[in-house]
């Protein structure tokens, strides 16, 4: 009963000073609109960078980590000094090790049975010198199962000449980054010679060119068949150094990496470990967004606080007369707090709309073309949770900003005012 009357009084008073109400509302509107725009854009940038990164990074990579711990030596065991106290080998030379994963085909087959995994791609990679006429160029060549690699990173979509499966049709075919091809002045159909560090050579025919939009990929990466790579390095058909996994749910990477590391006895890194700098960038952008949005909302909050304080100073007589008529302090608080909240909710809803329109507009602005980055428009994400949080922050801010003046109004002594 009282609430209805109090809300009605609040409404009438708000409508009686439209301009002031609109100004207070616009403060909240702009605060929330900027929050929506900033968070949608920043999250869009995060998503874009993560997608870019994921286009070249596996969710989980299993590999045999090179042991660089030289503190123990066989010499101790040989001379019956198991504690290693008496026999010290100073400055040992690293021994010759094979970095391959033993029983790699078994592990690959085992992984392919899991229903959490989308693709498994074995890899044997090496740095080689490309010879084309007098030109020499060092680049990394990945020996892969091209169909699995395509499933992992969507290679087909990034081909600008030839097709991924041409690699299977051609004996000793090679697919390379378009900038690498440009540097070597190669075109599809040309023959190029690969030379390894140990001096072995392989002549390959260029069958395709790809463009990732990342210069480390486009300028320094090529793909050949796994068997060709094993042949080039003089290894057997089971010699594989890395197994890369794409999961159905990327978020499981951390957990599953630990599981696989334990199960197969090799190091397993998830994508978050490999790309810690991207994660840090995401955190920094998120923090920036929240700091700026918080500042905007605080400014809007101060606007409301000021206006409500002014309103209450102008309404001292009305407050006194309401109290004389039998309105309690709580009623008075309701009247003025609900005015703040009406401003907050109306301004907030407008802010959501404006924020959406601004974000939408931004997502339609063409991104400056530079040939490196494969993006057409500014990246913007549209997620309902940003709008929910925007509204929540808006209401919270106006509630806090309205609370202090409303409390002040509730405590006003009517006698002092009525006596004049």
């Amino acid at each position: 009963m009282s609430l209805g009357l109090n809300l009605n009084i609040a409404r009438v008073q708000l409508l009686a000073r439209k301009r002031q109400t609109v100004v207070a509302m616009l403060g909240v509107t702009f605060g929330i609109a900027m929050f929506i725009l900033m968070i949608s854009f920043m999250k869009g940038v995060n998503q874009f960078l993560q997608d870019l990164m994921m286009s070249t990074t596996a969710d989980i990579r299993i590999y045999n980590k090179l042991n660089t711990d030289y503190s123990t030596s066989l010499a101790g065991r040989y001379f019956s000094d198991p504690a290693g106290k008496w026999i010290i080998v100073r400055h040992p030379k690293p021994k010759q090790v094979n970095l391959n994963i033993k029983n790699a085909p078994g592990i690959v087959n085992d992984l392919r049975k899991s229903d959490r995994i989308l693709a498994v791609s074995p890899l044997l990679s090496s740095l080689v010198i490309f010879n084309y006429g007098p030109v020499q160029w060092a680049a990394s060549v990945d020996g892969v199962d091209i169909m699995a690699e395509d499933k992992m990173f969507g290679l087909s979509a990034k081909m600008i000449a030839g097709r991924t499966d041409d690699l299977l049709r051609m004996d000793n075919g090679i697919i390379m980054g378009y900038k690498l091809a440009k540097d070597l002045n190669l075109a599809p159909g040309d023959l190029v010679t690969l030379t390894t560090q140990s001096g072995t050579q392989l002549r390959c025919r260029v069958v395709g060119l790809f463009k990732f939009g990342i210069s480390t990929m486009d300028e320094f990466r090529a793909y050949i068949n796994l068997a060709s790579m094993q042949q080039l390095l003089g290894k057997d058909r089971d010699y594989i150094t890395d197994i890369r996994i794409k999961l159905k749910d990327t978020r499981e990477a951390k957990k599953l990496a630990a599981v696989y590391a334990r199960k197969y006895g090799y190091t397993a890194d998830d994508w978050e470990v490999v790309n810690a700098s991207i994660k840090a960038g995401n955190t920094i952008r998120d923090t920036l967004t929240y700091v700026v949005s918080f500042t905007l909302l605080v400014v809007a909050g101060f606007g409301i606080y000021n206006i409500m304080n002014m309103v209450i100073t102008n309404k001292l007589k009305d407050i006194a007369i309401l109290k004389a008529q039998g309105f309690t302090g709580a009623d008075i608080m309701q009247i003025f707090l609900s005015q703040s909240l009406i401003i907050g909710i109306a301004g907030g809803l407008l802010g959501l709309l404006l924020g959406f329109l601004l974000s939408f507009g931004m997502s339609r602005v063409p991104f400056p073309e530079d040939g490196y980055v494969s993006i057409k428009f500014f990246p913007v994400l549209f997620e309902s949770q940003y709008y929910f949080f925007g509204m929540l922050f808006g209401i919270l801010t106006t509630f806090l900003a309205g609370m202090l003046p409303a409390l002040k109004a509730a405590k006003i002594d009517p006698v002092a005012i009525l006596r004049g």
């Binding site: 007369i321 004389a324 009623d331 006698v415 006596r419």
Partner: protein
């Protein structure tokens, strides 16, 4: 038949700012039902202070006030607000209508707050009160647009809406010209004759002379 509607016993009040000052000194007072009382005295004698004590708006005092068999001294803020809403009607010197609301809404507001009747019944009663003040033609006008005399008549209608036990008026003609003062005189006289209990603080000798009883105050004491 004499029924006391208000009884005040040994009221004492002090002002602490700007310096310690004993405003009311052992004031005792009984008001019978249907009485029209004027409190008179020089500025600063404590007559307005007494009125605000009796009206329950001011709670910082010593002594006991009983209105309509309820001891109001010591009641909490919520209970006092409810009590004022039901039992006391106010008329102030500066009329104090809510300017954003229409005349009718101003008159209806205490009754809506009380919540004893539905809106239609309240509206009908409010119109009756306005007719009594001959203000019915202005019912739909915003209160802020009216003259002082008109506002004061509406304030009286508002004070009557909940059929209060006592109507308290603080210098009801203090801010009006002589023509309007005469009208307000007549209205007070009329509502007093209808059996309302009225306590008014006034400077106006003519106004006081038409009341049932005049209480003279000097330096915080009732002298007659």
């Amino acid at each position: 038949m004499q029924t006391p509607v208000l009884e005040a016993v040994k009221l004492n009040k002090y002002f602490h700012e700007p310096q310690e000052f004993h405003v009311l000194n052992d004031v005792s007072l009984t008001v019978q039902k249907g009485e029209f009382i004027s409190i008179m005295g020089k500025s600063g004698c404590g007559k307005s202070t007494l009125l605000y004590l009796l009206s329950t708006l001011d709670t910082d005092y010593e002594g006991t006030i009983t209105i309509n068999n309820t001891v109001v001294s010591g009641l909490n803020e919520r209970a006092l607000a409810r009590f004022r809403n039901r039992h006391i009607g106010f008329v102030f010197q500066f009329h104090y209508l809510l300017p954003e609301f229409t005349v009718l809404q101003n008159v209806m507001m205490p009754a809506i707050k009380l919540g004893a009747l539905d809106t239609a019944a309240i509206e009908q009663q409010a119109m009756e009160k306005l007719q009594q003040m001959q203000m019915q033609d202005l019912a739909g006008k915003p209160a802020g647009k009216l003259s002082g005399g008109q506002q004061q008549r509406i304030a009286i209608a508002r004070a009557l809406i909940n059929k209060p036990d006592i109507i308290m008026a603080d210098e009801p003609t203090g801010n009006l010209d002589s023509a309007n003062t005469a009208i307000i005189f007549d209205i007070f006289h009329e509502i007093a004759q209808q059996g309302n209990t009225i306590i008014t603080v006034t400077h106006d000798e003519d106004f006081a002379r038409r009341s049932d009883r005049i209480i003279q105050m000097v330096d915080g004491k009732i002298t007659g």
